[in-house]
């Protein structure tokens, strides 16, 4: 099908984009890669008055270093993230998860910032951003502000982005020390969204797990951290038994939905199994 008619703006700078959003009327949609928005518009589940297309805002593309952080432009495509050497070096978890996003063509258009701002709890990148304690730089009419990942994801498809604001970049702390990472995705067919997935980053020291960060995909209306498991792993022996024991609490505090692909209790079970597998792999076991 064809989207309903809309007014179209194609800014080339962030300032122009903010102006276009301000001028766009009641119902403005920001078009990043469009790989979720355009299908929804084709099905006429969304019919915005104005679409502000960030495709030509070049300053939003690319990955750079800024001291202890990687800075990923919101309009950096998944394909560019996948091949970026800085990501490969400092945040391979992002690359691993990105590789599982949809398919080759979608990754050519879809963007890192777009996927995060869309905040689909079944999306792969929100839980990764959460696990890595990423920060979200948001531009608005009154300047820029930075929101930690823990505060960025507010509810189902809802973020801390206010009307008139724009996600411009994501700052990912470079992790110091010996980190291992693993994104463990569980879905029914290659293209499908995650039923559950687990993003794990583990720092090992002297045969022990010094620190573990675990993000859960699709275990609630927002991405979640498996805090109880993280706590149990901190200082634990890097053994299969210790990890298995810690992973049993992976679903604590989650509130997964029940749908076509799984009832809540099944998702809770998967979270435990996948957490065990992801942490084990990240810990090099």
């Amino acid at each position: 099908m064809i989207p309903a008619p809309f007014a179209y703006a194609r800014p080339t700078t962030v300032d122009e984009a903010l102006q276009a959003i301000a001028d766009g009327g009641e119902d403005v949609k920001i078009l990043a890669g469009g790989q979720s928005l355009i299908p929804v518009m084709r099905l006429r589940l969304a019919a915005p008055e104005t679409v502000v297309d960030l495709d030509r805002v070049d300053e939003l593309r690319g990955v750079r270093e800024d001291g202890d952080a990687l800075v990923i432009g919101a309009m950096t495509t998944h394909a560019d993230v996948l091949h970026d050497p800085l990501i490969g070096q400092y945040a391979p978890l992002i690359a691993q998860a990105t590789e599982t996003v949809a398919d080759r063509q979608v990754r050519r258009r879809g963007t890192f910032g777009g996927a995060l701002a869309h905040a689909d709890p079944a999306g792969d990148l929100p839980s990764v951003a959460l696990a890595l304690d990423a920060e979200f730089v948001i531009a608005g009419p009154n300047g820029r502000r930075t929101v930690p990942a823990a505060d960025f994801f507010v509810d189902y498809l809802t973020t801390a982005l206010e009307e008139g604001e724009l996600l411009v970049e994501i700052r990912v702390p470079k992790l110091a020390g010996q980190w291992g990472m693993r994104y463990e995705k569980f879905n029914r067919v290659a293209q499908a969204w995650s039923i559950v997935a687990v993003a794990a980053a583990v720092r090992r020291e002297d045969g022990h797990i010094a620190e573990a960060r675990i993000g859960l995909t699709n275990m609630g209306p927002t991405p979640l951290r498996a805090r109880a498991t993280e706590a149990a792993l901190a200082g634990a022996e890097a053994s299969a038994e210790a990890i298995a024991a810690a992973a049993r609490s992976a679903a604590e505090g989650t509130s997964p939905s029940s749908d076509l692909n799984g009832q809540a209790d099944y998702r809770e079970h998967l979270a435990q199994v996948l957490t065990r597998r992801a942490v084990s792999a990240a810990a090099g076991l």
Binding site: R10, P39, D53, D55, R104, Q105, V106, R109, A190
Partner: protein, 165 residues
């Protein structure tokens, strides 16, 4: 209406389009490039795959205005610009040789995605091929002969200097 200038299969086009016009509809309905088809409305099937500035995209999930100033290659632009007697692209030839198609509806998109895969990875394993075309659905072939076709084309392309779209 928005004015756009696009190069498609080597020719320049200048048109007015509604912003909501999808690239695939622009190609089919305004340019008559009906070799590229629409198979779904959720960006799952990949039948509409074309190259935008040399990279495979699903043209049902790109607006025509987004192609402004860019270069599009469709299945019709692969074989020497589409002249009836032009030589086939090695991937087209391999699909024929290996019986990588039956009804042929998914084929243009499948070929465009396969070329994109081979541009990035000239000698993919069977698993890499299967994952590389995961965004293209085929209901006829069970994919096995498509995989064979991509393998054969990879061999031919790596043996030659170029010829890629």
């Amino acid at each position: 209406m928005t004015s756009i200038n696009v190069r498609v299969d080597g020719a320049s086009y200048s048109d007015d389009v509604e912003p909501r016009t999808l690239l695939v509809h622009y190609l089919r309905e305004q340019l008559g490039k009906v070799g590229t088809v629409v198979g779904c409305d959720t960006s799952n099937c990949g039948a509409c795959t074309v190259h935008l500035d040399g990279q495979a995209v699903k043209s049902c999930t790109v607006l025509a205005v987004q192609a402004d100033g860019r270069e599009v290659t469709t299945i019709e632009g692969l074989a020497g610009g589409g002249a009836p007697d032009a030589a086939l692209h090695p991937v087209q030839k391999a699909f024929h040789e290996m019986h990588g198609l039956q009804c042929g509806f998914c084929t243009p998109g499948m070929i465009m995605a396969s070329i994109d895969l081979l541009n990035e990875n000239p000698s993919p394993s069977e698993t890499e091929i299967r994952e590389g075309i995961e965004g293209n659905l085929c209901r006829c072939t069970g994919y096995q002969n498509i995989v064979r076709a991509v393998q054969q084309a990879a061999g031919e392309l790596s043996g030659s200097a170029g010829g890629q779209a």
